[in-house]
């Protein structure tokens, strides 16, 4: 395998932060809120860098779509070992409606442009939990896909992927080029240490717009409203079984 790998990294609200719905219920507050790289994307970057260290591939390219701040996420990927970055600039209203379908169109266009042999993505993002981008990208490129990967190994011109599925573990062999999405147990991502962050400042991040790739990012979905989950109601303690039965009857459940 000659070897260029594209890794998608998404900038999401940090998992430990308490999110708040905007007063106009259009979306969630993001201004000034702590963001970080999606944890599954970190695992994807780590896998790509590990492959490069084993000399199985030649170049790791980190891709992110979003506003100016997406460059910080790409910089972290570069500090973990990616060779160069591509920032596809999407801002404002377009960014608010950016979803898996548009991202997969962008990834597919980039894969063709960069002549990539492998695309590694996180299995899902922790903000929308869509779990769609990897699968859609593979379909648009007509490439095989190995999703929920907990183990990936290159065997000649094929890839063996062990997938975590509901029933257990499934092992498949797919042709290259392919799309792989990383699951939790694939690896433990390394830290982006300070010397590497400093070196990463010298690595290149190319800037482009979706239109440069011939991709139309208009969304076919419209978000009507965002609400907080309903408050959990307090339960009621009863003293005897008779009480319980009468309460159930009152509620029309018995």
């Amino acid at each position: 395998m000659s070897g260029r790998v594209l890794v998608g990294v998404k900038r999401v609200i940090d998992y430990a932060v308490k999110i708040r719905v905007k007063p106009d219920k259009s979306s969630v507050v993001t201004d000034g809120v702590k963001h970080s790289m999606n944890p599954f994307c970190e695992i994807a970057v780590e896998e790509a860098v590990k492959m490069k260290e084993k000399k199985l591939i030649k170049e790791v390219v980190a891709v992110s779509c979003g506003p100016q701040q997406a460059q910080e996420t790409i910089r972290t990927a570069l500090a973990m070992g990616a060779d160069r970055g591509i920032h596809v600039e999407v801002t404002g209203k377009d960014y608010e409606t950016l979803g898996p379908l548009q991202i997969s169109k962008i990834m597919a266009a980039l894969a063709k442009k960069e002549e990539a042999q492998l695309i590694i993505l996180g299995k899902q993002a922790i903000d929308d939990d869509c779990n769609q981008t990897g699968q859609m990208t593979a379909a648009l490129l007509d490439w095989p896909q190995g999703t929920f990967a907990s183990e990936v190994s290159l065997e000649g011109d094929k890839i063996k992927v062990v997938r975590e599925v509901d029933g257990g573990l499934e092992t498949i062999k797919i042709n290259i080029p392919a799309v792989i999405t990383a699951d939790l147990r694939l690896n433990t991502p390394r830290y982006a240490t300070l010397p590497n962050i400093m070196k990463a400042k010298k690595k290149k991040i190319a800037n482009m717009k979706p239109a440069d790739l011939g991709v139309d990012i208009t969304s076919r979905l419209e978000v009507l409203r965002v609400d907080e989950p309903p408050q959990r109601q307090a339960g009621v303690k009863v003293e005897t079984v008779e009480d319980l039965v009468s309460k159930l009857k009152e509620a029309g459940l018995v």
Partner: protein, 622 residues
């Protein structure tokens, strides 16, 4: 089912006690101390695993691990991305550009982004900002709320006594701005980056480095990838060394590296120990009808008694949404170990003059931080070979004004101006020795910072009298308002805050009301709002010099005050699995980096060290 082990160990203790009684006249002290040590060594589980307490040199798990560090050189390294550190960095770059000199300025900050660990009221006095950036308005500084109304009250349990704020009193806020300091600091960070400062948020300075001659060489960032039990993980990597001609330490109130430097260079031999307070803060979205943008409210009195220093603040911000920033400050020289600053804060919100503002609103943020109260009496020696101290770390807070940001910024700027000629001088030998810049301390003494702090130096110590709060207010009225602090004497503080606690048996427990979930809240839901988190699998960064002291001393004598003064629920005394006795559980992941435990621990056994960078609270515009 009988828990046999519990009964048998009780029986054992009974027999041992009988033995001691029989031979008591022989050598009573010897038996009891031996007895106690034996019991405690059996029941004290290991709590502290940090390498600052248990060295890695003698640890077999670290044999063969590569401990070399990557090193880099800068002209100036600044520890801490707060108002002081950023002002120093900006001023250095402004001077460098003015004089067309090259200067590499690196700033390390433990928060994941600049401003994420910043917490303050805050009513900013724009004096220092106008000196740093005369065009701050055009640059878009987030100063959107000029103060329009200023209210000061003394609270009793049910009533409010208004106190007129006459011109000349320190707490007058005319001309100041209510700011969300986190956003202000973030903006300062953007200005610094534009000027070419290298900012590295997410990397904590964990160690001070020294030259052969004992001068400061720079700092090293934290190691990553150490497991909770202190052993190296697969992802272990050493921190990095940043060497500089001079290093500025701007860690904020009670910095952990500053604590080391005080000992190393004996910087505190001619000043009083620093005294502190804890400030807890919440941000609320309130009902529009109750919103009065630009209104500043301060109070003293209830729920604290007259001998406990403290008070509240409530500021109405003007940034689009009807937001209020409110909080409570408690002096850490309080004497009752049953006092819980968090619960005093929650209780205060129910006062008839406060609750109506909050009714119908919702809380969106929570946080806490220690602040300095020592004033000019507690300022240590500020410079030493290779480095100097800026900002709240040495402590330039004007206590009656409750403002320290403007003086912190000014100290950073003065430091930059003192360092610049020395650091860009020709023929500098920085390979083997760090620069000593005593000109900084001189400049500070000749500046408005010193005049300001000198005039208010007696206000806080004046509270140490029988009438407490009221004596202090009378003193302020007479000596500050009338005589402008020109009295020839300087009052002393009462000593270390940690020594002020009375034993629990001499004090009465305080009955706090249960949180109602609408205006007052429980501790854990508050901690969740701070967004604080740390990598779980790392040694707890709240290190104990001696693991058995908490149960033997803090719990036995003071009923475990750390479970009450920690605003994040880090310290919990839980029953031992064997059933008899208690142990201290440290929930290090909850820590909001306030430093109160390091300050108030009566045994001074807790040593806060910096955890892996990027961890800690995720404050947003606090």
């Amino acid at each position: 089912m009988f828990p046999a082990s519990r009964y048998s160990s009780k029986a054992h203790r009974c027999i041992r006690a009988l033995k001691t009684v029989q031979t008591e006249h022989a050598a009573p002290q010897l038996y009891t101390t031996l007895h106690r040590r034996k019991c405690s060594s059996v029941s004290t589980p290991r709590i502290t695993t940090h390498y600052t307490i248990h060295s890695r040199d003698k640890d077999s798990r670290w044999e063969g691990i590569e401990m070399e560090r990557f090193a880099d050189e800068a002209d100036v390294v600044i520890v801490g991305g707060g108002p002081a550190g950023l002002s120093a960095a900006i001023r250095l770059k402004q001077l460098a550009n003015e004089h067309e000199k090259e200067l590499r300025v690196c700033l390390v900050e433990k928060a994941s982004q600049i401003g994420a660990h910043t917490l303050s009221g805050a009513c900013l006095e724009p004096t220092a900002l106008s000196e740093l950036f005369p065009d701050w308005k055009e640059r878009g500084a987030p100063m959107n709320t000029p103060v329009t109304e200023d209210v000061f009250s003394i609270l009793t349990e049910k009533h409010r006594i208004p106190v007129p704020i006459l011109p000349g009193l320190p707490m007058r806020n005319h001309g100041n701005y209510i700011v969300r300091l986190g956003n202000f600091v973030h903006w300062l960070g953007e200005q610094a980056e534009e000027l070419g400062v290298e900012l590295y948020p997410g990397y904590a300075a964990a160690e001070v480095l020294f030259h052969e001659d004992g001068s400061v060489k720079g700092i090293a960032t934290n190691d990553v990838g150490i497991a909770k039990d202190g052993s190296p993980k697969d992802v272990f990597e050493r921190g990095m060394e940043l060497h500089a001609k001079v290093t500025l330490f701007g860690e904020g109130c009670h910095g952990h590296l500053a604590k080391q430097l005080y000992k190393q260079f004996n910087l505190r031999e001619n000043c009083e120990p620093q005294t502190y307070a804890i400030g807890l803060k919440e941000v609320w979205v309130i009902d529009e009808k109750k919103w009065r943008p630009g209104r500043v409210e301060h109070s003293v009195g209830w729920p604290l008694n007259r001998n406990t220093y403290g008070g509240s603040f409530l500021y109405h911000l003007n940034e689009g949404e009807p937001l209020v920033a409110l909080g409570f400050v408690v002096g850490l020289d309080y004497t009752n170990p049953y006092l819980s600053p968090f619960r005093e804060f929650q209780r205060w919100k129910h006062h008839p003059s406060v609750a109506p503002t909050l009714e119908g609103g919702s809380r969106i943020a929570y946080g806490a931080r220690a602040l300095n109260e020592g004033g000019i009496q507690s300022i240590p020696k500020l410079t030493f070979p290779g480095g100097l101290l800026i900002g709240c770390s040495p402590g330039f807070m004007n206590v009656p004004k409750i403002k320290g940001t403007h003086t912190a910024m000014k100290s950073g700027m003065l430091a930059a101006e003192a360092i610049f000629p020395k650091v860009t001088a020709e023929g500098l030998d920085s390979e083997t020795t760090g620069l000593h810049v005593p000109e900084y301390a001189e400049a500070l003494k000749n500046s408005w910072v010193w005049k300001e702090l000198h005039s208010v130096r007696n206000i806080r110590p004046s509270f140490h009298n029988y009438f407490g709060l009221y004596g202090g207010m009378i003193y302020t009225g007479v000596f500050y308002w009338i005589f402008r602090g020109k009295e020839p004497w300087t009052l002393k503080h009462a000593g270390l805050d940690a020594n002020q606690l009375k034993p629990a048996k001499e004090c009465t427990p305080i009955e706090y009301p249960k949180p109602d979930g609408k205006i007052s809240f429980d501790l854990l839901s508050s901690v969740a709002l701070s967004g604080t988190n740390h990598e779980g699998d790392q040694p707890p960064h709240l290190t104990l010099k001696n693991d058995s002291v908490p149960v033997e001393r803090n719990l036995a004598i003071y009923d475990g005050p750390e479970q009450r003064f920690c605003p994040a629920g880090v310290y919990e005394y839980v029953p031992l699995e064997t059933g008899d006795g208690m142990r201290l559980q440290i929930n290090a992941q909850n820590c909001v980096h306030c430093k109160t435990c390091d300050i108030k621990d009566p045994s001074q056994n807790i040593n806060w060290v910096v955890p892996e960078g990027g961890g800690g609270p995720a404050y947003n515009g606090m």
